[in-house]
């Protein structure tokens, strides 16, 4: 069974069809990029995959559970247990240190564990920056803390929203290397991006347009392999 199985989902906002009969299945360990111009339905799709919204029609099976049928509370639980989120704006709690920001995710998931949180920071190369506040970290470092935070509860899927959108080239490379490493370790990655270079690192590129899947391509790295 696929990890994520979207069957003919549509999302209506009044008369507006944000998503129109989209079907998509994502296997465990797969790396998917979702592209598309503004208003193509990327955000809506991401909200549904991230269990923050429900489709108006169709089935959205997350590990076999149809999130279209679940209530808000249950969606929160699924998100907490199965999804790790990485944002374009990083979204750190700016009065907590790097390690505490990681521990917030542990706190909502189960139990804060500083040692484990420090290990996660080690993985993203920020062990020595653990006690720094977000304001003392660069954008790249903040994004790496967010990746560490996304990983800390061992999610089934890392859902990244323009993860490199606010990063310079050097930091973009670091982030992508990190994703590659996660991919190698078997983490399922869904990356929403504008950037063809970032998309190309993925195995499969889904291009949305007007709420429909306009095109599915193979990532350059895969194609080239």
């Amino acid at each position: 069974m696929s990890l994520l199985e979207l069957r003919n989902i549509s999302k209506l906002y009044g008369d507006l069809k944000a998503l129109d009969d989209v079907s998509l299945s994502v296997e465990r360990g797969e790396w998917i990029a979702i592209m598309g111009p503004s208003g193509s339905g990327k955000s809506t799709l991401m909200n549904i995959i991230g269990c923050m919204d429900k489709p108006t029609m169709g089935e959205a099976l997350m590990d076999g559970v149809d999130i279209a049928k679940e209530n808000r509370k249950k969606l929160t639980e699924i998100r907490r247990d199965k999804i790790g989120l990485v944002f374009q704006q990083f979204h750190m709690i700016n009065y907590l240190t790097a390690v505490e920001n990681v521990m917030v995710a542990q706190y909502y998931h189960s139990m804060p564990d500083e040692a484990e949180a420090l290990e996660a920071l080690e993985r993203v190369g920020l062990r020595e920056r653990a006690k720094h506040l977000p304001s003392q970290l660069s954008g790249g470092e903040q994004q790496r803390v967010c990746v560490a935070r996304a990983l800390i509860n061992h999610p089934e899927i890392i859902l990244a929203d323009e993860p490199t959108g606010n990063l310079d080239e050097a930091n973009e490379k670091i982030a992508l290397d990190l994703f590659s490493q996660l991919h190698k370790e078997g983490t399922t990655l869904i990356v929403v991006t504008h950037d063809p270079e970032v998309a190309d690192v993925a195995q499969r590129i889904i291009v949305l347009d007007h709420g429909r899947i306009a095109r599915v391509a193979r990532g350059a790295s895969v194609a080239g392999a």
């Binding site: 955000s43 929160t76 907490r80 944002f87 979204h91 917030v104 909502y108 804060p112 564990d113 929203d161």
Partner: protein
């Protein structure tokens, strides 16, 4: 780090981060708690404070003779022993006797009192002159003084007549004592009174007459003071008749007739055996605007000297600094004894209770308004905090915070604010109450330790209530907010 420590870390860090906002909230809670604890202190202290003030309105409990018995000073003091010593402001004995001022043909009630206690139980007494200082001085009510024309420092000749309510008509049975001096008065020219002193022998014949006609026209009626006129009475037997026994002075017939009438009155008024007359000096005139003005006050010993008897009272007035329910309790204990009957002066206790309950209602109302204002202020601040941190709340939810989790974090912040604000407010409130007490009532108050937990709990409750609406907003925030990268 366990969950609780992480929770505390998040909550305190969040408060510290929004320092300026939270200071506003903290300040409003602290001020609310200040006024709350201040007013609670005053609320509980007011009865004590006002009780002492109210005692200026006079006695609030009286002791009367019990079943069929008489009220002695000893019995009254025995009954009073149930009252806490420091609550008893004053205990004033009263003994009432009807006395006459024979020369003016006036009869009135006299009260034998202990002037030192009167000053305590009736501080509103306004005395022109001074209180009597010995047994030969009297305090005269203004009404009596005006009616019979007694002046400050004047002499008042008071007569006690057992079983006689007013001067009887006619001559005394059994004749007169040799050399006895009788006095009397009558209305002369133009409403002025003339007074006489008549000395008689044992058979009722007049030996001499002295006339006070100072109220009459000196050149006309004044002639009645002369020996030319008074000698006309000598050797005559009482009663005398004008034109028969005594001829009038030509041109002063009205005054002459008044003197004759006064002489006859003198013989009639001194008519009861066993009577006793003592001269007192008027040391003060009493002006209260009330019934007291119709009494003559003298010391208990002074009264005993005139009317005999001692130790027996008609009433004991008590001024007790206690609330109505406590007074009622004292009264019922005293009444159980039976020897003495205790009554509350309802006029006083009721108005005291009414004033107190209104004052307390006012304090209560002000407290409620202050708490409401605090609630609004804290609520507004929290509302601002939440709209400022929509992103952060969205993030927390995206990271898996449940609605309950968000709620408990904000309630945690609210409780922390409540504890800090309440504790500081309780201390400031005590200072506030102390200030009010010293400046308004002129006495200090002691800190009630219970105030601290009460103020803290109420502050916590107020902040929690204040946060209900803001928290509802926070919980409604959509986690997807964080994904729409702005």
């Amino acid at each position: 780090m366990n969950r609780r420590r992480m929770f505390l870390r998040m909550v305190t860090a969040s408060l510290l981060r929004r320092r300026s906002r939270m200071l506003v909230a903290l300040l409003s809670i602290a001020i609310g708690a200040t006024i709350l604890s201040g007013l609670i202190t005053i609320y509980y202290d007011v009865p004590r404070q006002m009780g002492a003030q109210f005692r200026g309105y006079g006695a609030n409990m009286i002791l009367l003779p019990g079943d069929g018995g008489e009220l002695t000073i000893e019995a009254a003091q025995d009954a009073m022993s149930v009252i806490e010593r420091e609550q008893l402001i004053g205990a004033s004995p009263y003994r009432y006797v009807r006395l006459d001022m024979v020369s003016r043909q006036q009869s009135f009630m006299a009260a034998g009192v202990d002037f030192e206690q009167v000053r305590r139980t009736s501080p509103y007494f306004n005395v022109e002159g001074r209180y009597p200082e010995n047994d030969r001085e009297v305090l005269v009510g203004k009404f009596i003084a005006d009616t019979i024309g007694v002046r400050l420092n004047g002499v008042m000749e008071l007569t006690y007549q057992p079983a006689a309510e007013s001067p009887s008509e006619g001559l005394r049975e059994g004749g007169f004592a040799p050399g006895e001096v009788l006095s009397g008065g009558a209305e002369g020219w133009n409403g002025g009174r003339v007074y006489v002193s008549v000395k008689i022998d044992g058979d009722g014949f007049i030996e001499s007459v002295e006339v006070d006609a100072s109220s009459q026209t000196p050149e006309i009626g004044g002639a009645c003071e002369t020996e030319d006129f008074t000698s006309r009475f000598i050797g005559k037997k009482l009663p005398v008749a004008l034109g028969v026994d005594v001829d009038a002075i030509t041109g002063a017939t009205v005054t002459s007739a008044a003197v004759v009438e006064a002489v006859n009155n003198a013989s009639a008024s001194a008519a009861v055996a066993g009577s006793k007359t003592i001269n007192y000096t008027v040391s003060g005139i009493l002006d209260t605007g009330g019934d007291e003005e119709g009494y003559v006050f003298l010391s208990l010993d002074g009264m005993a000297a005139l009317a005999g008897g001692s130790g027996s009272l008609d009433v004991m007035e008590l001024s007790v600094s206690a609330a109505q329910d406590e007074l009622e309790r004292y009264a019922s204990i005293i009444n159980e004894g039976g020897a003495v009957a205790a009554r509350l002066v309802k006029r006083v206790t009721r108005s005291e209770t009414a004033v107190l309950s209104r004052l307390q209602a006012l304090v209560f109302l002000v407290t409620a308004v202050v708490l409401l204002l605090t609630t609004i202020c804290v609520s507004t601040t929290m509302m601002a905090v939440i709209s400022e941190s929509r992103k952060e709340i969205g993030l927390r939810k995206a990271l898996g915070a449940s609605d309950g989790g968000i709620r408990s974090e904000f309630i945690g912040e609210a409780l922390l604010l409540g504890i800090l604000g309440g504790a500081s407010g309780a201390l400031m409130g005590f200072a506030f109450a102390q200030l009010v007490s010293v400046n308004v009532f002129g006495s200090s108050i002691t800190f009630q330790p219970m105030l601290l937990p009460v103020a803290v709990l109420v502050s916590m409750a107020v902040t929690c209530v204040s946060c209900l609406l803001p928290i509802k907003r926070a919980v409604a925030i959509d986690p997807a907010l964080v994904l729409k990268g702005e």
